[in-house]
Amino acid sequence: MSHDDAHRLHDVPASVSRRNFIKGVIAGGAGVSTAAYLFRSGTLVSGQARTGAVERLITLTVNGQTRRVDVAPQETLANTLRYKLGLTGTKLGCDRAECGACTVLVDDVPRYSCSVLTHSVRTKKVQTIEGLADPDGTLHPVQAGVVLEQGFQCAFCMSGFIMATVGYLKKHPSPTREELAHGVSGNLCRCQDYDKILTALHRGSELARGVTRG
């Protein structure tokens, strides 16, 4: 850490959350060095560039925004979102398409972003947990359901569960609790808090349909 970075640490106002601080750092200088570590072999690839292979500088559509980003050919969407675009709400759990923590929507379909090549979604719309709430801060109904029912314990798996639910509801807007359980069966919770999670997500599906309770 440079002297300037250390200085900045002491200047952090109390109101800045740890999460926002980390995101700020990722967007700034430290992000560059993180990415340089993760993608350290990238220069090797561009050195061997052949006709027909993909270009590294691409445009992505994420949460309705157009983002220009330098992406290695072998880079996964989860890595791009987290380490290049600072969208750390998408979590990396297993990195093997088993846990679901990295679930995002690609053209409204839930996908494991740890197992999607970023280059394969160039022409598609990506939505992450950061893109769910309205610009004025109004939560998405599924998020609201989670808040109302206090659905998660540690919540590491939460953004994945919420994205899987939002995607499922686009095709199945009125699921029973059992159907919704099937819909989010590609997501794991290590706290084993499934009952409460399902209650919260199902409440979210009701809120999305405008169902209110007394």
Partner: protein, 336 residues
């Protein structure tokens, strides 16, 4: 496997928009890794168990996706996702077992991305092999899963030959049972292979599970009308009701008339390196009434010659019972 939280080793990525472009590339560089949904590929590459310098990503080739009517049957593009197969109206109406098999693969997110071509082309799940041990299948001279101390609960009970890995696919047994055909293209030529001949046991080739050669692409799967509307049965037994590969699965079709079985197809997966078509069982079933006695006899015949390893003896009664249940019919037990 130790989890490495790092990106995959570098490779060149090619994203053709037509099958011809992909075939040109494979012709020039036959060692290019073919990427369909990637659900099997990424594990190999992330774990560094297999490496490649170039990948051809088929996801941008629209012509390889979709389900078309062909001569009363269906032609399914190899890049059609499993969810699209599982939810397709004509597949459900005429080839119910295939819809069910596709719908029971892994998890929703994997079915949203995984393709039917990838599902039948995926590599073995033997965990010694996947961990990178230099076993027969990896080109070595030992099977680590078939030793007195090996952990081999998921391994083969039939057709083992040095290697005891099993076919991991759910759609493969259904396609074999439906007399499907696999369309394999290379630059300038095409061959059509019966699904039953598409899959290989270790006695034929110990290092691969299908006949697809380097430079070839599986472009489509044709399901003929032969068993459209017959009585179909598919059942998958696994440890968890989501994500897991089959411990044993069974796909069967019966043409019946007045309670008598005229023609049967019975195929069992995850018991051998390829989906096992039980021809002796099928022959025995022809002309028999679909009764409990017939079901029991079919189950006993199915497991003839089965040999257990140290930890997989349970698969023998499991296979027997699944064949019985297939003949018996009725609602499925292991659906999620």
């Amino acid at each position: 496997m130790a989890i490495v939280h790092d990106v995959m080793p570098p490779f060149q990525l090619f994203q053709p928009s037509s099958a011809d472009e992909a075939l040109d590339l494979l012709d020039a560089r036959p060692d290019t890794w073919v990427l369909a949904g990637g659900m099997d590929s990424f594990d190999w590459l992330k774990d560094r168990t297999k490496r490649t310098s170039a990948v051809v990503d088929l996801s941008g080739i629209d012509a390889l996706r979709g389900i078309r009517e062909v001569d009363g049957g269906l032609e399914i593009g190899a890049m059609t996702t499993l969810v699209d197969v599982a939810e397709h109206a004509a597949v459900n109406a005429r080839f119910k077992m295939l819809a069910e098999a596709a719908g029971l693969v892994a998890s929703p997110q994997i079915r949203n991305q995984g393709t039917i071509g990838g599902n039948v082309s995926q590599d073995a799940r033997c965990w010694y092999y996947r961990r990178g041990w230099s076993c027969y299948r990896a080109g070595g001279s030992t099977c680590y899963a078939d030793t007195p101390t090996a952990v081999n609960r998921e391994h083969a009970i039939l057709g083992a030959d040095r290697c005891v890995a099993v076919s991991p696919s759910d759609t493969a047994p259904a396609l074999v049972a439906l007399d499907a055909q696999m369309v394999l293209r290379r630059r300038g030529s095409e061959r059509v292979v019966d699904a039953a001949d598409f899959f290989l046991g270790p006695d034929i080739d110990i290092t691969r599970l299908t006949v697809r050669e380097p430079g070839e692409l599986l472009t489509a799967i044709r399901v003929p009308a032969t068993f459209a509307g017959a009585r179909h049965y598919f059942e998958k037994v696994r440890d968890r009701q989501v994500w897991d590969f089959p411990l044993v699965n069974v796909a069967a079709a019966f043409k019946e008339s007045g309670g008598t079985i005229q023609e049967a197809r019975v195929v069992v997966g995850a018991v051998a390196a390829k989906p096992l078509r039980l021809r002796t069982v099928e022959a025995q079933l022809a002309g028999k009434p679909a009764t409990e006695d017939t079901a029991k006899a079919a189950g006993e015949l199915a497991i003839a010659g089965a040999q257990a390893l140290r930890f997989n003896a349970y698969k023998i009664p499991l296979m027997r019972n699944l064949v019985r249940r297939a003949v018996r019919g009725g609602p499925l037990a292991a659906t999620t």
